[in-house]
Amino acid sequence: MSLSREQIAQRVAQEFNDGDYVNLGIGIPTLAANYVPADIEVMLQSENGLLGMGPYPTKASVDADMINAGKETVTAATGAAIFSSAESFAMIRGGHVDVTVLGAFEVDQNGNIASYMIPGKLVKGMGGAMDLVAGADNIIITMTHANKHGESKLLTQCTLPLTGVSCITKVITDLAYMEIENGEFVLKERAPGVSVEEIRSKTAGQLRVDGDIPEMNFV
């Protein structure tokens, strides 16, 4: 069975370590905040200028001056810091954020990512995505393995305009967890009940399968 959005988010959260500063993109990445293992703590960075993002506010405490990078009303967690956009991206671009989780349209076997622009469709902009992929060492991409036409999004070479080059090392899809090494997708884990053959058939890029591939473990 392919993973639900929540299960992808849950698998992502297993990659967090105690004390990680984490930036979560809009969509599935944001859901990962709900699955942080109970024995660790992470601190969420929001690129509009907030380190230590808390939960959504109660209706009574909504404040127009307190938003996240998705322009949603949020709160500041205990011990949070608030700063300018230049400072926020100094953190991001300077490599101080430990983990970045983002969605994508395509990822290729050389770690390139395309996530912000489909030619012919209106371009809304890259926001902070190009800075995030250029600044982080540990980037986790979440997406479906194939698009709605069944075409693989894990390619030999990205076909869409790039958001960043040679920067992606981990991809978590509804079918598998893969790392990117030496120009190959290396299959590390399968979604429960999904076969290596199915993953192979839906991976257009070079896929390496070393020995038995375990299923993901959801507690």
Binding site: D65, A86, F89, M117
Partner: protein, 232 residues
């Protein structure tokens, strides 16, 4: 100190000198922390052909979006311009130009402009459409592109409080691009919720020192929220 009293009493005075085809750098992130009254004054004034540097262009009917209604903006320099149907229409019509700039590069370009740094190297955008036509160079085994800084004839800024000398503080995440915008305008105008006397803000809490600020005006803010999300 008459010479340091930056407070003006009308929006006309606040935006005096703004002319067609100028560049205006605006603080704000979406609708958060935007100088609502200064934007309204630009609309009232009818200035045309503006290049506006701002992370976003507001939404239809609010924020910088209202400057699209009479086609006052010639070009936007932004990182994200969704949420705006009129923007989309003018862009497709060729009535509006957009220079998409990564958010961190945009913040750094404003800061660099204000700090006398004409250009800097960044990894952001290397190998992407953003890097096309820009010089790239290797430092310590990694590729970077050269980005030039931004300054403008005007900067419009929203602060929480300012004293008469123009020293400003910002409230929560309404800070965002405002401190950088404040440094990058030849004339910097700050619209605030409260004007206080010099000395009421402690020297260390000041986020934008008055040296960057030319005019301060007391505003009224609607503070519209783009996405109200709550836990209850």
């Amino acid at each position: 100190m008459a010479g340091f009293d930056k407070v003006v009493s009308s929006y006309q005075e606040a935006m005096a000198g703004l002319q067609d085809n100028m560049t205006v750098i605006a603080g704000g992130f979406g609708l958060c922390g935007i100088p609502e009254g200064l934007i309204a004054e630009i609309k009232n004034k009818g200035t045309k052909g503006l290049t506006v540097v701002s992370n976003n262009c507001g939404i239809d009917g609010f924020g910088l979006g209202i400057l699209l209604e009479d086609k006052q903006i010639k070009k936007m320099v932004s990182s994200y311009v969704g949420e705006n149907a009129l923007f989309e229409k003018q862009l497709l019509n060729g009535e509006l130009e957009v220079e998409l700039t990564p958010q961190g590069t945009l913040a750094e370009k404003m800061r660099a402009g204000g700090a006398g740094i004409p250009a800097f190297y960044t990894a952001t955008g290397y190998g992407t459409p953003v890097g096309e036509g820009k010089e790239s160079r290797e430092f310590n085994g990694r590729q970077y592109i050269l980005e030039e800084s931004i300054t403008g004839e005007f900067a419009i800024v929203k602060a929480w409080k300012a004293d008469r000398y123009g020293n400003c503080i910002y409230r929560h995440t309404a800070q965002n691009f405002n401190p950088m915008a404040a440094t990058a305008g030849k004339i910097t105008v700050v619209e605030v919720e409260e004007i206080v006397e010099p000395g009421e803000l402690s020297p260390t809490e000041i986020q934008t020192p008055g040296i960057y600020v030319d005019r301060v005006i007391l505003g009224q803010f609607e503070k519209r929220i783009e996405k109200i999300t709550t836990s209850d």
